[in-house]
Symmetry: C2
Subunit: 234 residues, 2 copies
């Protein structure tokens, strides 16, 4: 992917809207947590994709489910399938173990420095997650990025999951910023696409040098890290 040349590319947005899970948090410790409860480490990818799949299916149906409920149920189903002999108490303990890991992840190495640099450029910064606001607060609150995060927003209050337009509008309403002055920053193309359609500027964080889906419109910016993003505006 190459960046799309656009007049706005070199102008920092007034508001940065950050996705949280996997965009800010490093999910790799989940592999050990899966292993600890008797699942295969590689199952984390299918599990996470399945949580989003089911969350989006319910979004299509007009629901606004709790991310943690879907995530825990997905772990329980996998433990029951892999260990039919285990009792429900052990199954619940496995889900608790994985969810506990999920809510105590650390940010990627570029996050704190990148967010501080963005704030130094004058950007206001909020998070907007399909998960709870508490997970984002636990992730960043005690880090050096804590002081530059203006608010931790969740779709729990927006009424609908991203990528529905109303989820992004909720963040704009909460901050009083127009869509064209806000930029969604995420590792997930479906999130970037939702924000783009809602009129926001977009950055795809591509830490693994992956290819952007051919069936979506490319983002305005394509960066390798949040420090890279800040450098684009420097």
């Amino acid at each position: 992917m190459t960046d799309q040349p656009a007049p706005e590319t070199s102008t920092a947005p007034r508001l940065v809207v950050l996705d949280v899970n996997e965009t800010l948090s490093d999910l790799s410790p989940l592999r050990q947590a899966f292993s600890d409860v008797g699942l295969e480490p590689h199952e984390t990818e299918a599990w996470f994709a399945g949580v989003l799949r089911d969350g989006f299916a319910l979004t299509v149906l007009g629901d606004n489910p709790a991310f943690a409920d879907l995530a825990a149920d997905g772990v329980r189903a996998r433990v029951r399938a892999a260990h039919p002999d285990r009792g429900e108490q052990t199954v619940d303990e496995a889900a608790d173990r994985v969810l506990s890991t999920f809510t105590s992840l650390a940010p990627h190495p570029d996050v704190v420095e990148g967010l501080r640099a963005l704030a130094g450029l004058g950007c206001r910064i909020v998070t907007l997650s399909n998960g709870s606001a508490g997970v984002a607060r636990a992730l960043l609150g005690e880090t050096g990025a804590g002081p530059v995060i203006e608010d931790y927003l969740s779709v729990e209050r927006a009424g609908v999951w991203k990528p529905a337009a109303a989820a992004y509008r909720y963040a704009l309403e909460q901050t009083g910023v127009e869509a064209r002055h806000a930029m969604l920053v995420a590792v997930h193309p479906w999130d970037v696409e939702g924000a783009r359609r809602a009129g926001l500027r977009t950055t795809w964080v591509n830490r693994k040098d992956a290819s952007y889906p051919s069936f979506l419109t490319p983002p305005e910016l394509d960066v390798a890290s949040l420090t890279d993003l800040a450098a684009r505006f420097g």
Copy 2:
């Protein structure tokens, strides 16, 4: 899971609406296809969940994407990630190889006998897939179930993917059957849930003795195979 006792449970529906991918088709040969193109066999699960995740995300945004486009793009992205040295021609060939396998799968062992038994009970039968009608036709057309399939329907003509209500309504309109006389039969809980909300009767096909998601309303019937389903009405 136990079946929900309900007056309708023992009455065969006038119309059976069958999901196709994984409900009728055995996806296990995809593991070999993934291996053949240099991917891990276990990646098939995350890939398939990701195709549905992205399809549902686009459904939330009002789109009606082609299943095969998302499926092929997902394979290409994985091959590029695993083998950055490969050229795009090789990447395309890998996608072709996997998609070719996907469109030439065989039905599960219970499918032909089960569908013939359902037809013998007086049920009309159609398929309704988020993929193309051609995949379902190729799967069943030349089997002993071919003569009992009234039509192969796809969301391509419905205008929207399942689990949106309009997808199920399309099947009802095409067949002239009221929702309460139709039963959606699928392995995927999100499909069962969508049909339930659209007013159809529902059967969850649970070949692996899995647990139904706790965050969804249980289906009317829970069967281990299509022959099991027919036996419930016998």
